[in-house]
Amino acid sequence: MKPRFRQSMNWLHTWAGFSFGWLLYFIFITGTVGYFDSEIDRWMKPEISVVNHLENQNEILTIGEQKLEALAPESPQWYISLPASRTPFVKIQWLQLANAETNTPRDWHEKFIDINTGETKEIRSTAGGETLYRMHYNLHYVPELMGYILTSLATMLMLISLVTGIVIHKKIFLEFFTFRPKKGMRSWLDIHNIFSVLPLPFHLMITYSGLLLLMGVTMSSVIDVRYGEGRENHRKFYNETQKDTKVQQFIDLAPDELSLQSVLNDANLRYKNQKISYIGLIDRGSVDEHYKIWFDKFDGIHLVSALEYRIKDERVEIETSTEKAGSAARVYDLFEHLHEGLFANIYLRWLYFLFGLLGAGMVATGMILWIKKKKKPSQSDKNLVMISIVERINIGVILGLPIAIAGYFWANRLLPLNIEHRIDWEVHSFFIALLASIGFSLFRSIKKIWANLLWFTAIVYMLLPLLNLVTTEHNIVSSIQKNDWLMLGFDLSMIFFGLCFVLAAIIMQSKNSLSPSIIKQSDFKPKTKLALKVD
């Protein structure tokens, strides 16, 4: 490889990586956490009564139907969530149409049902795991469109960093397993390589698929030129890309017996090995009224969406979608499913989570390398101050994001249940915690920031199960007794992450105590050219 090519790609890798590094770290961390959005949702809504033993689905359906009839008799769309592996509770949802007279907007409503009592339960107003997940492409405090564009731009730079990184890594196979600890800059480079090269298939997949998922917005001019401009045309285009190849068959059910119950029974008979997770009644009361059934499915990348039951020619017909109609749409679908990982069972989901963290580590170590390379004594005084500020903000962001997530969970438990805009305030707490970490890093002595923040993060995570115990009726022991696996899993995970941070804090403190008297070059403002040459 020509030396000038390697040099130019080195420059590109450094600057493409650095320019949006903090945003990319934010995207990686919130997206990674988003793989467990349903599980986090459960913890953030502790009032939900969890269903763990095999309840009679028909009974649940009856209760749900009765409640929907009572609460939303005029709604054109009804949905009932049956207990599933990631969502072990019963939920009803309905669409409320806009009503000019009563001044109600078009909106979706949901209610959780306690099947022990058959009544709906009041759940605290919370942003939930879903908001954490959505932040990784919507960002926050900016209009949705700007969030999409910024995220896409960051992702494009990520792709460029990945490709240039591969190009400049001379010994990519020779140094595959290489990590040489305690060698300063060399060790940091080794760790950056390990975080980047080992999960490289995942990084390439997640980055490229991320770009694809937003391409309807970023590359919309292609649609404008070749299909048509404006919202209507774009919506038409989107619907056409989503066209599935469908398979229809008529079944032996009398049309007047078609109801939620009969649909449930029929689907259960046909798919004995699968669990129904969601059932919907769409276009209620119209000619096009039909039922949809979704399954709890974790064994194949292609998410077969649903079974549709409708009356056609005075007979009942089932329609299944097999896959997308267009071949390009199939490729897009594959990337979309790989990115979202909805098909993953619990083990694969934890692996997705691990890879996301490795990606965040890749970005973080990259930023640290950039800063370390700049901290040469040959820099002018002004530059050294700037680099010192960047270094501090860097630590504030790297540890600030885990602190912000913990702050989000703390806010969920501590904010009073009936304040206005509770959801907004939960998210504000996230960003307040992040800003506080950055602020702390800007004013603390540079030698102490890592250790201090690591200990703080450890404490803030370890105390979460205690907070749970104090503020709700849930705790680790009661979760085991009630078989509330999601609540238990969350509490135990928080302790696990807390312990990881404790380990990191101990390692950092032992490193600090080993070298107390070595003056860091960055703390040194060289007044003359006789500055030390020692690295």
Partner: protein
């Protein structure tokens, strides 16, 4: 960072960034539109294919822009590719709609 050293280069860097960002985006869009003409019967599929490939084009263009010896050369390359792609686009459009 021995590649870009002195102050005079900052104009060159800014130029390259603009050429890469804007020129690359233009070229990626043109190539996407050209690719969308490929499947004869299914324009929707063609558009999706074009959009998916455009990101690879964008990456390659950005890498090329930062590799050329001077920013001027980068500008000329990207500029002429854009004009060529635009020409191909117009030509295909004329042929299809004839």
């Amino acid at each position: 960072m021995t590649f870009f050293k002195n102050k005079a280069n900052s104009i060159s860097i800014i130029a390259r960034v603009l050429i890469a960002l804007i020129g690359g985006f233009l070229l990626a869009n043109f190539v996407a539109i050209i690719i969308s003409y490929l499947p004869a019967d299914n324009v929707v599929d063609g558009i999706v294919t074009g959009m998916m490939i455009s990101f690879i084009v964008y990456t390659l263009v950005v890498m090329a822009v930062f590799h050329t010896k001077t920013a001027m050369k980068a500008g000329m390359w990207v500029g002429s590719c854009c004009i060529a792609a635009y020409g191909v686009m117009i030509y295909i459009d004329m042929v299809i709609n004839a």
